[in-house]
Homo-oligomer: 148 residues x 2
Protein backbone atom coordinates (compact mmCIF):
# COMPACT_ATOMS: atom_id res chain seq x y z
CA UNK A 1 0.00 0.00 0.00
CA UNK A 2 2.78 2.38 0.93
CA UNK A 3 4.70 1.23 -2.14
CA UNK A 4 1.65 1.89 -4.32
CA UNK A 5 1.23 5.33 -2.80
CA UNK A 6 4.90 6.15 -3.35
CA UNK A 7 4.71 4.94 -6.93
CA UNK A 8 1.62 7.05 -7.56
CA UNK A 9 3.37 10.03 -6.00
CA UNK A 10 6.51 9.51 -8.09
CA UNK A 11 4.45 9.09 -11.24
CA UNK A 12 2.35 12.17 -10.64
CA UNK A 13 5.40 14.26 -9.74
CA UNK A 14 7.16 13.11 -12.88
CA UNK A 15 4.12 14.02 -14.94
CA UNK A 16 3.72 17.32 -13.16
CA UNK A 17 7.37 18.28 -13.65
CA UNK A 18 7.52 17.33 -17.29
CA UNK A 19 7.60 20.24 -19.73
CA UNK A 20 8.24 19.25 -23.35
CA UNK A 21 11.93 20.08 -22.98
CA UNK A 22 12.27 17.60 -20.11
CA UNK A 23 11.76 14.80 -22.64
CA UNK A 24 15.29 15.60 -23.77
CA UNK A 25 18.49 14.94 -21.86
CA UNK A 26 20.04 18.21 -23.07
CA UNK A 27 18.77 21.43 -24.62
CA UNK A 28 20.96 20.67 -27.66
CA UNK A 29 19.04 17.41 -28.07
CA UNK A 30 15.72 19.27 -28.16
CA UNK A 31 17.08 21.68 -30.79
CA UNK A 32 18.63 18.87 -32.83
CA UNK A 33 15.38 16.87 -32.53
CA UNK A 34 13.14 19.62 -33.88
CA UNK A 35 15.61 20.48 -36.64
CA UNK A 36 15.95 16.79 -37.57
CA UNK A 37 12.20 16.19 -37.67
CA UNK A 38 11.64 19.30 -39.78
CA UNK A 39 14.46 18.34 -42.15
CA UNK A 40 13.10 14.83 -42.70
CA UNK A 41 9.61 16.27 -43.22
CA UNK A 42 10.97 18.85 -45.67
CA UNK A 43 12.74 16.24 -47.77
CA UNK A 44 9.56 14.22 -48.22
CA UNK A 45 7.42 17.33 -48.73
CA UNK A 46 9.82 18.43 -51.46
CA UNK A 47 9.23 15.13 -53.29
CA UNK A 48 5.48 15.66 -53.19
CA UNK A 49 6.03 19.22 -54.43
CA UNK A 50 8.21 18.07 -57.30
CA UNK A 51 5.27 15.99 -58.54
CA UNK A 52 2.65 18.64 -57.80
CA UNK A 53 4.72 21.18 -59.73
CA UNK A 54 5.50 18.82 -62.61
CA UNK A 55 9.26 18.75 -62.05
CA UNK A 56 9.15 14.93 -61.81
CA UNK A 57 6.59 12.54 -63.30
CA UNK A 58 3.53 11.94 -61.11
CA UNK A 59 3.70 8.60 -59.28
CA UNK A 60 0.59 8.00 -57.17
CA UNK A 61 2.26 5.43 -54.89
CA UNK A 62 5.32 7.62 -54.29
CA UNK A 63 3.14 10.68 -53.70
CA UNK A 64 1.11 8.79 -51.11
CA UNK A 65 4.14 7.29 -49.36
CA UNK A 66 5.86 10.68 -49.14
CA UNK A 67 2.71 12.58 -48.10
CA UNK A 68 2.01 10.04 -45.33
CA UNK A 69 5.53 10.51 -43.96
CA UNK A 70 5.06 14.30 -44.12
CA UNK A 71 1.80 14.02 -42.15
CA UNK A 72 3.43 11.85 -39.47
CA UNK A 73 6.59 13.97 -39.22
CA UNK A 74 4.46 17.12 -38.94
CA UNK A 75 3.38 16.04 -35.44
CA UNK A 76 6.89 15.70 -34.02
CA UNK A 77 9.01 18.87 -34.01
CA UNK A 78 6.93 20.80 -31.47
CA UNK A 79 8.07 18.86 -28.43
CA UNK A 80 11.55 20.20 -29.21
CA UNK A 81 10.49 23.82 -28.63
CA UNK A 82 10.14 23.54 -24.86
CA UNK A 83 11.03 26.21 -22.30
CA UNK A 84 14.74 26.99 -22.28
CA UNK A 85 15.42 25.74 -25.80
CA UNK A 86 15.72 29.16 -27.44
CA UNK A 87 18.29 28.53 -30.14
CA UNK A 88 18.94 28.06 -33.82
CA UNK A 89 16.76 29.90 -36.30
CA UNK A 90 13.84 30.17 -33.90
CA UNK A 91 12.65 33.70 -33.15
CA UNK A 92 11.96 34.65 -29.51
CA UNK A 93 8.29 34.88 -30.57
CA UNK A 94 8.14 31.05 -30.43
CA UNK A 95 8.20 31.38 -26.64
CA UNK A 96 6.53 34.79 -26.38
CA UNK A 97 3.54 34.03 -28.61
CA UNK A 98 3.02 30.39 -27.76
CA UNK A 99 -0.73 30.45 -28.46
CA UNK A 100 -0.15 31.69 -32.02
CA UNK A 101 2.74 29.25 -32.46
CA UNK A 102 0.50 26.37 -31.35
CA UNK A 103 -2.26 27.54 -33.68
CA UNK A 104 0.12 27.47 -36.67
CA UNK A 105 1.43 24.03 -35.64
CA UNK A 106 -2.12 22.69 -35.55
CA UNK A 107 -2.87 24.29 -38.91
CA UNK A 108 0.17 22.65 -40.50
CA UNK A 109 -0.64 19.29 -38.95
CA UNK A 110 -4.19 19.57 -40.34
CA UNK A 111 -3.01 20.60 -43.83
CA UNK A 112 -0.42 17.83 -44.04
CA UNK A 113 -3.11 15.37 -42.97
CA UNK A 114 -5.28 16.64 -45.85
CA UNK A 115 -2.28 16.27 -48.18
CA UNK A 116 -1.97 12.58 -47.28
CA UNK A 117 -5.69 12.11 -47.95
CA UNK A 118 -5.40 14.01 -51.26
CA UNK A 119 -2.42 11.87 -52.29
CA UNK A 120 -4.41 8.70 -51.62
CA UNK A 121 -7.07 9.93 -54.08
CA UNK A 122 -4.53 8.87 -56.68
CA UNK A 123 -4.86 11.76 -59.12
CA UNK A 124 -2.48 14.67 -59.64
CA UNK A 125 -5.24 17.29 -59.57
CA UNK A 126 -6.21 16.39 -55.99
CA UNK A 127 -2.53 16.50 -55.03
CA UNK A 128 -1.99 19.88 -56.71
CA UNK A 129 -5.11 21.31 -55.05
CA UNK A 130 -3.86 20.49 -51.52
CA UNK A 131 -0.16 21.14 -52.06
CA UNK A 132 -0.57 24.95 -52.08
CA UNK A 133 -2.50 25.20 -48.80
CA UNK A 134 -0.03 22.82 -47.17
CA UNK A 135 3.00 24.79 -48.35
CA UNK A 136 1.25 27.97 -47.17
CA UNK A 137 0.87 26.48 -43.68
CA UNK A 138 4.64 25.88 -43.54
CA UNK A 139 5.39 29.39 -44.78
CA UNK A 140 2.98 31.04 -42.31
CA UNK A 141 4.95 29.59 -39.39
CA UNK A 142 8.35 30.38 -40.94
CA UNK A 143 7.31 33.98 -41.61
CA UNK A 144 6.34 34.58 -37.98
CA UNK A 145 8.65 32.31 -36.03
CA UNK A 146 11.80 31.53 -38.00
CA UNK A 147 14.72 33.84 -38.75
CA UNK A 148 15.46 33.66 -42.46
Amino acid sequence: MIRLALFALAASCAAFALPASAQFAKTEDAVKYRQSALFVMGQHFGRVGAMANGRVPYDAAAATANAEIVAEMAKLPWAGFGAGTESGKSKPEVWKESAKFKELQDKMIAETGKLAVAAKAGNIDALKAQFGPTAASCKACHDSFRNQ
Copy 2:
Protein backbone atom coordinates in the same frame (compact mmCIF):
# COMPACT_ATOMS: atom_id res chain seq x y z
CA MET B 1 0.20 9.87 -79.10
CA ILE B 2 3.72 11.19 -79.57
CA ARG B 3 3.26 13.22 -76.38
CA LEU B 4 2.14 10.10 -74.54
CA ALA B 5 5.13 8.17 -75.85
CA LEU B 6 7.52 10.94 -74.84
CA PHE B 7 5.96 11.14 -71.37
CA ALA B 8 6.27 7.36 -70.98
CA LEU B 9 9.88 7.57 -72.12
CA ALA B 10 10.66 10.42 -69.73
CA ALA B 11 8.95 8.61 -66.87
CA SER B 12 10.75 5.34 -67.51
CA CYS B 13 14.09 7.10 -67.89
CA ALA B 14 13.51 8.93 -64.60
CA ALA B 15 12.63 5.68 -62.86
CA PHE B 16 15.56 3.89 -64.45
CA ALA B 17 18.03 6.57 -63.44
CA LEU B 18 16.88 6.83 -59.85
CA PRO B 19 19.20 5.32 -57.24
CA ALA B 20 18.26 6.11 -53.64
CA SER B 21 20.74 8.97 -53.54
CA ALA B 22 18.99 10.65 -56.47
CA GLN B 23 16.05 11.33 -54.16
CA PHE B 24 18.27 14.00 -52.62
CA ALA B 25 19.34 17.25 -54.24
CA LYS B 26 22.82 17.01 -52.69
CA THR B 27 24.92 14.28 -51.08
CA GLU B 28 24.94 16.38 -47.89
CA ASP B 29 21.15 16.19 -47.87
CA ALA B 30 21.25 12.39 -47.99
CA VAL B 31 23.75 12.30 -45.11
CA LYS B 32 21.76 14.85 -43.09
CA TYR B 33 18.55 12.93 -43.83
CA ARG B 34 19.81 9.58 -42.55
CA GLN B 35 21.42 11.21 -39.51
CA SER B 36 18.23 13.16 -38.78
CA ALA B 37 15.96 10.13 -39.10
CA LEU B 38 18.24 8.05 -36.87
CA PHE B 39 18.46 10.84 -34.28
CA VAL B 40 14.67 11.24 -34.09
CA MET B 41 14.30 7.46 -33.83
CA GLY B 42 16.95 7.32 -31.11
CA GLN B 43 15.25 9.96 -29.01
CA HIS B 44 11.96 8.07 -29.00
CA PHE B 45 13.68 4.70 -28.52
CA GLY B 46 15.47 6.15 -25.51
CA ARG B 47 12.11 7.05 -23.95
CA VAL B 48 10.86 3.51 -24.39
CA GLY B 49 14.12 2.26 -22.90
CA ALA B 50 13.82 4.55 -19.89
CA MET B 51 10.53 2.84 -19.08
CA ALA B 52 11.73 -0.66 -19.92
CA ASN B 53 14.73 -0.12 -17.64
CA GLY B 54 12.69 1.50 -14.85
CA ARG B 55 14.42 4.89 -15.03
CA VAL B 56 11.01 6.56 -15.51
CA PRO B 57 7.56 5.32 -14.43
CA TYR B 58 5.88 3.05 -16.94
CA ASP B 59 3.20 4.84 -18.96
CA ALA B 60 1.45 2.51 -21.41
CA ALA B 61 0.18 5.31 -23.65
CA ALA B 62 3.57 7.04 -23.81
CA ALA B 63 5.34 3.73 -24.43
CA THR B 64 3.00 2.97 -27.33
CA ALA B 65 3.24 6.45 -28.84
CA ASN B 66 7.05 6.39 -28.68
CA ALA B 67 7.37 2.80 -29.92
CA GLU B 68 5.10 3.51 -32.89
CA ILE B 69 7.27 6.50 -33.87
CA VAL B 70 10.38 4.31 -33.53
CA ALA B 71 8.83 1.68 -35.83
CA GLU B 72 7.93 4.30 -38.45
CA MET B 73 11.28 6.11 -38.26
CA ALA B 74 13.12 2.78 -38.58
CA LYS B 75 12.02 2.54 -42.21
CA LEU B 76 13.46 5.88 -43.28
CA PRO B 77 17.24 6.27 -42.90
CA TRP B 78 18.24 3.69 -45.50
CA ALA B 79 17.36 5.78 -48.54
CA GLY B 80 20.06 8.18 -47.34
CA PHE B 81 22.83 5.61 -47.80
CA GLY B 82 22.79 5.66 -51.59
CA ALA B 83 25.79 5.36 -53.86
CA GLY B 84 28.20 8.27 -53.48
CA THR B 85 27.04 9.24 -49.99
CA GLU B 86 30.05 7.81 -48.14
CA SER B 87 30.41 10.21 -45.21
CA GLY B 88 29.92 10.79 -41.52
CA LYS B 89 30.29 7.86 -39.16
CA SER B 90 29.43 5.29 -41.84
CA LYS B 91 32.08 2.65 -42.47
CA PRO B 92 32.96 1.81 -46.11
CA GLU B 93 31.38 -1.60 -45.41
CA VAL B 94 27.95 0.06 -45.80
CA TRP B 95 28.63 0.19 -49.54
CA LYS B 96 30.91 -2.86 -49.77
CA GLU B 97 28.65 -5.29 -47.89
CA SER B 98 25.26 -4.00 -49.00
CA ALA B 99 23.54 -7.38 -48.67
CA LYS B 100 24.55 -7.67 -45.01
CA PHE B 101 23.67 -3.99 -44.44
CA LYS B 102 20.21 -4.57 -45.94
CA GLU B 103 19.75 -7.70 -43.82
CA LEU B 104 20.49 -5.74 -40.61
CA GLN B 105 18.16 -2.91 -41.72
CA ASP B 106 15.36 -5.42 -42.25
CA LYS B 107 16.08 -7.04 -38.88
CA MET B 108 15.88 -3.68 -37.10
CA ILE B 109 12.68 -2.73 -38.93
CA ALA B 110 11.17 -6.08 -37.87
CA GLU B 111 12.27 -5.72 -34.24
CA THR B 112 10.99 -2.15 -33.95
CA GLY B 113 7.68 -3.35 -35.43
CA LYS B 114 7.53 -5.99 -32.71
CA LEU B 115 8.34 -3.32 -30.11
CA ALA B 116 5.31 -1.28 -31.21
CA VAL B 117 3.13 -4.39 -30.94
CA ALA B 118 4.59 -5.22 -27.51
CA ALA B 119 3.98 -1.64 -26.31
CA LYS B 120 0.33 -1.90 -27.37
CA ALA B 121 -0.03 -4.97 -25.12
CA GLY B 122 -0.07 -2.41 -22.33
CA ASN B 123 2.09 -4.16 -19.77
CA ILE B 124 5.68 -3.44 -18.82
CA ASP B 125 6.75 -7.10 -19.02
CA ALA B 126 5.86 -7.32 -22.72
CA LEU B 127 7.74 -4.07 -23.32
CA LYS B 128 10.81 -5.26 -21.38
CA ALA B 129 10.80 -8.58 -23.25
CA GLN B 130 10.99 -6.90 -26.66
CA PHE B 131 13.22 -3.96 -25.72
CA GLY B 132 16.38 -6.08 -25.52
CA PRO B 133 16.06 -7.72 -28.96
CA THR B 134 15.25 -4.33 -30.48
CA ALA B 135 18.27 -2.65 -28.89
CA ALA B 136 20.39 -5.60 -30.04
CA SER B 137 19.25 -5.03 -33.63
CA CYS B 138 20.46 -1.40 -33.43
CA LYS B 139 23.79 -2.47 -31.92
CA ALA B 140 24.37 -5.21 -34.50
CA CYS B 141 24.29 -2.62 -37.29
CA HIS B 142 26.40 -0.08 -35.36
CA ASP B 143 29.03 -2.72 -34.59
CA SER B 144 29.49 -3.63 -38.25
CA PHE B 145 28.72 -0.42 -40.11
CA ARG B 146 29.29 2.61 -37.86
CA ASN B 147 32.58 4.07 -36.70
CA GLN B 148 32.39 4.59 -32.93
